[in-house]
Amino acid sequence: MIRLPRLLATALLAFALILSTSACGEDDTSTSSSGATGAAGAAEDVGELTVYSGRAQELVKPLLDKFTADTGVKLNVRYGDTAELAATIREEGENSPADVFFGQDAGALGALQKAGLLGDLPPATLDKVDARYRSTAKQWVGTSARARVIAYDKREINEDEVPPSVLDLTDPKYKGKVGWAPTNASFQAFVTAMRKINGEDVAEQWLKDMKANGTKAYEKNGLVRDAIAAGEVQFGLINHYYVLEAAAKEGADYPVGVGFAKAGDPGSLVNVAGAGILKSSDKQDGAVQLVDYLLGDESQRFFAEKTFEYPLVGSLPSPEGVPPLADLAQPGLDLSDLDDLEGTLKLIEQTGVL
């Protein structure tokens, strides 16, 4: 009884070792091929592009597959968290194998731009998108937009009872009834917007008052939405599409609704998902082709219909159930200012929200 398992164990170990050597062999071949693409500067061959995507595979893979089908350009897509992929590109520096960075929020794109790792986009690409939704330094462009909303429990709250400003949520009558996701990048972009629109002092006081008012913290926007559906809280500060996608799945009696703060309020901030091209990429033409594709009619329709976001190019309609983008204008705000997340993080830490 003792002998056999030991023998088995030894055999397993040996097997693993053999596997490891053969796997290293595999590595060598895969490396040499990726090394070849990495050093393809000699001849600009757009046969293959490497994309770091902070947008989820489940959401954007069909679109990226369509790009390959339409153009014949193969994509190597590395999916991950937007900020972690941005951090990865920071560490890779000049040696990054990535050609295009496709990010979930303007902040990560802004950080890469600041680090000098993105190259300039051609004016023809930039001009497809309204100046509000692209980098003033011309290094990234928004591909779709998302609005911050005050999601609410339709079973308890009427639409006209949704407060016109997030600043109202510090009122004692909302005590313990609001959920937010303070670790979420889009929440932090929203706090940054509040600092820019209402001033540092207002933002600081608001965070303190919200915390004192028993606002519940969740790890993800989706969890805030689920908490409303579960009756844990009655309001949630999240992005519009979280509600739309759940409503599309769950049907008409889904209990969570989207409420919008009045135009100009940081509570209805419009932020973008966007793309930039790495300066170190030796496939600039192919990379531009991909970014242009993301701004093309088909992609924009995809974002509107499949991910419930606002299209940013052309005259496609907004997704059902949300006001048009033009109604959510933020007169006092330049999206590029949202990269000042450091100040926001400090504020969030100082006020004890995180």
Partner: protein, 523 residues
């Protein structure tokens, strides 16, 4: 051969032995690999020391450190208590079905902490399906969840040590009239201290490095702030500074544990073949003992599995993509298998050094080799991104660098188990082999290695079971498009809700069961 002459001198001379230089050299090389993240941290911190200083001297750093350490010590303590009781019940008593309990009580280890945490929130949180408790968020919840999913880290080495314990001592105590409890507390427990210490240290270090559970249970820990530095402010210097502090804390914990360990010796005085000890009859304690095992297994294993099954039935994302899941399963097994084999090989010289030649140099080598376990996965991954793209671009984003990262990250798991096993091989047996004219390598191959095999396999299995659920290093370092079960769970839950990851999570539990079964059923 140098080894031979050095070792011969050692054996002839008797008394405290000199460390053989070749062994030290090999061990130092292995430790150097483990030091890659440390080098990265130094480079980043040295790049802008003032920013690093700012990050550390922020008022909340001290508070966070105290909170995180408090949690780590609490988890280590409760894990140790649970583990010792379970080990004793399943090794020493006539508990009905103890082989089965032995397996079931180790299984919670394969539940990834963030899945476990989310399950507990949905069971006990606001709107929870079982009961609603306030303490689930914060310290209480983190303590409960991390204890339930890390106590097997203590249970495995304690069980192994208990099985290998010299029965004659306890028999002697019993023969002189001591009751089972007294003889356990005065004879058995003290002998187990090294195993408990090693396991508790791992549980504490894991708690310090965990991100998944603390983030979902909203406990502000050090690691959570490190992730925040990347996610919110793209601030790598601050993150590196905090991670550096974590390493310092780990070194202090390590030294403390090493001091406890060094005062004990655990080799059997009797010959190497284990003689089974007559099991302690539980008598009227049988029912409470069964209730305890049932409670632990129900909370830490049955409830999670049932919840996952229910979720998988809900099929949030439609029918699961079985071909993707099968492929991911193969990749998980491959990476975890490679990581386990490599970690055992790298740990071997360090464990030998540690077990046979304790001293300053040994302690340094060992401490550096252990540092990877306390670091959050994201730090290990980014360190290897930084070093890999510069020093070994040919290996970057290949399986090789993933396995390297996992070895660095999980080396202490193998090291602890192997060191304990080697310490339990009686020196007298090796010396007897030498006096019969065998060379040191022959002694090692015919006496030491077979006797330490169990611990070695246990170490490899621990690395395997941890590597199979590892996420950050795979996401950032694996070949593009390389999916494991962990990345599959992440993809699903990232896009929508946790429920969507239920199917790959169940598969993860299933593939982890055979190595555990093997590990526990070995004897």
């Amino acid at each position: 051969m140098a080894v031979t002459s050095t070792m011969r001198r050692r054996y002839r001379g008797g008394g405290p032995s000199r460390t053989p230089a070749p062994l030290l050299l090999v061990a130092v090389v292995c430790a150097a690999a483990a030091a890659v993240p440390l080098v990265y941290l130094v480079i980043v911190i040295a790049g802008s020391p003032s920013a690093a200083g700012d990050a550390i001297w922020r008022a909340r750093t001290v508070e966070l450190l105290v909170r995180s350490l408090g949690l780590a010590l609490a988890v280590a303590t409760t894990s140790s208590v649970i583990a010792v009781v379970l080990a004793w019940l399943t090794v020493r008593t006539d508990l009905p079905g103890r082989r089965l309990w032995a397996l079931l009580t180790v299984l919670p280890f394969v539940v990834p902490s963030y899945i476990g945490a989310y399950l507990f929130v949905s069971a006990l949180g606001p709107g929870g399906v079982l009961v609603q408790v306030d303490w689930i968020y914060g310290f209480g919840g983190a303590w409960l969840v991390l204890t339930l999913f890390t106590y097997p880290l203590v249970l495995l080495p304690v069980r192994a040590a208990m099985r290998r314990q010299d029965p004659s001592l306890e028999e002697a105590a019993r023969g002189m009239g001591a009751g089972p409890v007294t003889s356990f507390l005065t004879v058995t427990l003290p002998q187990l201290t090294p195993a408990i210490g090693a396991g508790a240290l791992l549980a504490a270090l894991y708690t310090l490095s965990d991100f998944g559970a603390v983030s979902i249970l909203r406990f502000d820990s050090f690691t959570r702030v490190i992730y925040q530095s990347y996610r919110a402010s793209f601030d790598r210097t601050g993150a590196a500074a905090l991670a550096g502090l974590l390493v310092v804390v780990m070194l202090l914990l390590y030294l403390w544990e090493a001091r406890v360990r060094s005062t004990r010796s655990s080799a059997r005085s009797a010959p190497g073949t284990a003689r089974p000890l007559a099991p302690v009859p539980l008598g009227r304690w049988k029912l409470p003992a069964l209730a305890f095992c049932t409670a632990i297994v129900t909370i830490a294993l049955v409830v999670p599995v049932i919840t996952l099954v229910v979720w998988s039935q809900r099929a949030v994302a439609g029918a699961p993509d079985w071909s993707a899941i099968t492929g991911a399963m193969g990749n998980s097994l491959l990476t975890a298998g490679l990581a386990a084999s490599a970690a055992v090989l790298v740990a071997l010289p360090v464990a030998l050094l540690s077990a046979r030649h304790p001293g300053r140099a040994t302690q340094t080598v060992e401490a550096i080799s252990s540092s990877g376990y306390v670091l959050p996965g994201i730090i290990i991954a980014l360190a290897l991104v930084f070093v890999g793209t510069r020093a070994a671009p040919w290996a970057y984003q290949t399986l090789l660098i993933v396995v390297f990262a996992m070895v660095v990250h999980f080396l202490p798991l193998a090291l602890g188990a192997m060191r304990t096993a080697l310490l339990q091989v009686p020196r007298s047996l090796e010396e007897a082999g030498r006096s019969c004219g065998r060379g040191p390598l022959s002694v090692w191959a015919t006496i030491t290695a077979p006797l330490a095999m169990g611990g070695t396999l246990a170490g490899g299995a621990l690395v395997f079971l941890t590597a199979v659920k590892e996420l950050p290093t795979v996401i950032l370092l694996a070949p593009t498009g390389f999916q494991t079960l962990a990345t599959e769970i992440w993809q699903q839950t990232n896009a929508s809700v946790f429920e969507a990851g239920a199917v790959p999570a169940l598969v993860l539990l299933l593939v982890s069961a055979p190595p555990l079964f093997f590990l526990v059923g070995r004897d």
